[in-house]
Symmetry: C2
Subunit: 378 residues, 2 copies
């Protein structure tokens, strides 16, 4: 007998309401019954996105919606600014390059947030930049970027602001409209408390204008077709029906809580996790820009980071994430996103203590948990 | 209180085992635990595909896998033969054209199967045709094409044979390897008894060779990246985890039954449905090429086809499909694919009789059900 705990930055744990919804007998998607569901999902997404723009539901991983963003607003030969401060920022560059778009790369040191002023400089230097591709929360480093400030910089230019909010939407604040975000892409398996399989994308009037002249080839991810179907409360292709039904449940839960409460809960989880990590004598990987959705900590000297993650998962059933790409073995990441509350964090920290102790790391057992408890009592 | 019955050609009803699997707590996809599941799913897919080729799992609707087929083997300016005998054949043409590929259209009258000789003629006339795009079962008309014979025609040319088996795989015979099918695409929501959200695609060595020189832009659907991940029992992007776990359950059920039994069950369902429809004095839409997965029948004179489908669904809870595109209102389609057995057919026919009777169609009540019962007793 073993209980499993999931503290990873996608997928995140599923609420029982979501599990139950997916287990229901399936219904057909071209029916008034499913149209009601689609309508509810669209309204709920607009609430979470804090937007009046249409939010399209795509059947794909988050990366598919990133590709949709690129191929619908740009053309081969266009220039775009891609902000790269981690694995997912790099993905914007890769997608642009796959479609013959000149990616002006703004490299940001992993673990740091981008300086909005740097974006401003680049835009002034190259006015032909048509789009700025950014990341709300860079899952690979735990960094959160200041999208609000970036929006202030981009809004006065001809460029559109595209935000990868796959990690963060529905967990931390992102005001699509008042922050001037033209295209916001997201996925189901993070703040929205669903399994992976759905992507979301909002499009502002400024972005639609650019879309009019886009010449990238596309079919499955063609948002003009998505819009045509959307206006008839339909989808262009057979959608992931069960996931959309479950999405309605998750959106209902988020609405019931209210976005403000959801955001402050995530902040609490992050504060407690950071406090615990520091109390254990560990160093945060991104101390100046740590997000409220995932905490990255440096693996202490003398400890094998990959073994740490493996032991927590395979021996004790607590799944956290290791480092990706250049951070492999160097950091571990504890996510506190979605359907996570304080005792999940306590379990995660307790298991971290247990394995660190067994691996010979020197500290007072219980120190991390105590720091988390103190943070939660504040 | 109302019970709902689903007799549509995708989605098809879900077995309880599949529903239960989706309701389980989610696990992370970059773990040995999920790798075991991926391995099992891949082996099961090869069994259903009757192939030694790799079968990739994509997180998308079936149409996404069709796009993957096009963009991975062809380049802009290439010529391809698309066989169009219904809505889904037309989709091949549309996707090719979206990517600047010259689509040589082979138009087939809706309701008829393509003549393999016609394909042979076209290939001889235009040896530069690089790929032939076909459909196993054209869902919009209920027609099944003779893929085996087409394979015999294409195998001796430089062209590759691409089969849309979204409707039909795991329900009717499709021998990927011995019928020389180079690329076979499929989806989860038909014969495989799952919700929509997963696509599958197999690639033969001949098709891989073509893929080497393909210049269509791609990222999310790049099969070379899929192959790299596949060889490490991984996926390039976060996959639809719960659907893949459910896929294992469905594949286990198919294996337990054995493909031959599965195919003969589908034939029985089709025979009974066709017998019932004819006994009611209705005409099959595709009498010469009716598939074992969906039966299309002409709406009798004086009856409103759309109202018929609507009444069955909204008044009595039995969902069948109406006609698509040019067949709207002219046919109705009863699917007998996936998790369907004889009493589902009896319910469907009984409900059809009830509504036809109420709409004033003249026939002896019970005639259709009796014909179905007789067919099942054979």
């Amino acid at each position: 007998m073993r209980k499993n705990y999931l503290l990873t930055p996608g997928p995140t744990p599923l609420p029982p309401e979501v599990c139950e919804a997916m287990a229901r007998p399936i219904i057909h998607h071209r029916t008034p019954q499913f149209q009601n569901i689609l309508k509810e999902a669209s309204e709920g997404l607009r609430y979470v996105y804090q937007t009046k723009n249409d939010v399209f539901i795509l059947t794909s991983s988050g990366t598919g919606t990133m590709e949709a963003a690129v191929v619908n607003i740009l053309s081969p030969g266009d220039t775009a600014l891609t902000v790269q401060g981690g694995k997912f920022g790099e993905r914007w560059t890769e997608i642009c390059q796959s479609y013959g778009i000149n990616a002006e790369v703004l490299d940001v040191e992993w673990g740091k947030a981008v300086e909005p002023k740097e974006i401003e400089k680049r835009l002034k230097a190259k006015p032909k930049i048509k789009a700025v591709f950014t990341t709300l929360c860079e899952t690979s480093t735990g960094v959160v970027n200041d999208i609000e400030a970036i929006g202030q910089v981009v809004k006065n230019t001809d460029a559109v602001l595209v935000v990868d909010a796959i990690s963060g939407l529905g967990a931390i604040d992102l005001q699509t409209d008042s922050w001037f975000c033209d295209v916001v892409v997201s996925g189901s398996q993070k703040g929205l408390m669903l399994p992976p399989g759905l992507g979301f994308i909002s499009v502002s009037p400024k972005a639609w204008k650019l879309a009019e002249s886009s010449k990238c080839p596309k079919y499955y991810f063609d948002l003009k077709e998505a819009k045509k179907a959307y206006d008839k409360t339909d989808t262009p292709f057979t959608p992931a029906i069960t996931l959309i039904i479950a999405l309605c449940e998750a959106l209902r839960m988020l609405k019931e809580d209210g976005l403000e409460n959801v955001f402050s809960r995530h902040k609490k989880m992050a504060d407690a996790t950071q406090a615990a990590v520091k109390a254990l004598g560990l160093e945060l990987f991104a101390p100046m820009a740590a997000s409220d959705v995932v905490t990255a900590a440096k693996v202490p000297h003398g400890i094998d980071g990959e073994k740490l993650v493996k032991a927590m998962r395979d021996t004790y059933g607590v799944t956290i994430a290791g480092g990706q790409s250049e951070l492999k073995g160097k950091v571990f990441r504890i996510a506190h996103m979605g359907f996570i509350e304080e005792f999940d964090i306590i379990v995660g920290i307790s298991c971290l203590e247990k394995v660190l102790f067994q691996m010979g790391y020197k500290f007072q057992l219980g120190t991390g948990v105590r720091a988390a408890e103190e943070a939660f009592l504040k």
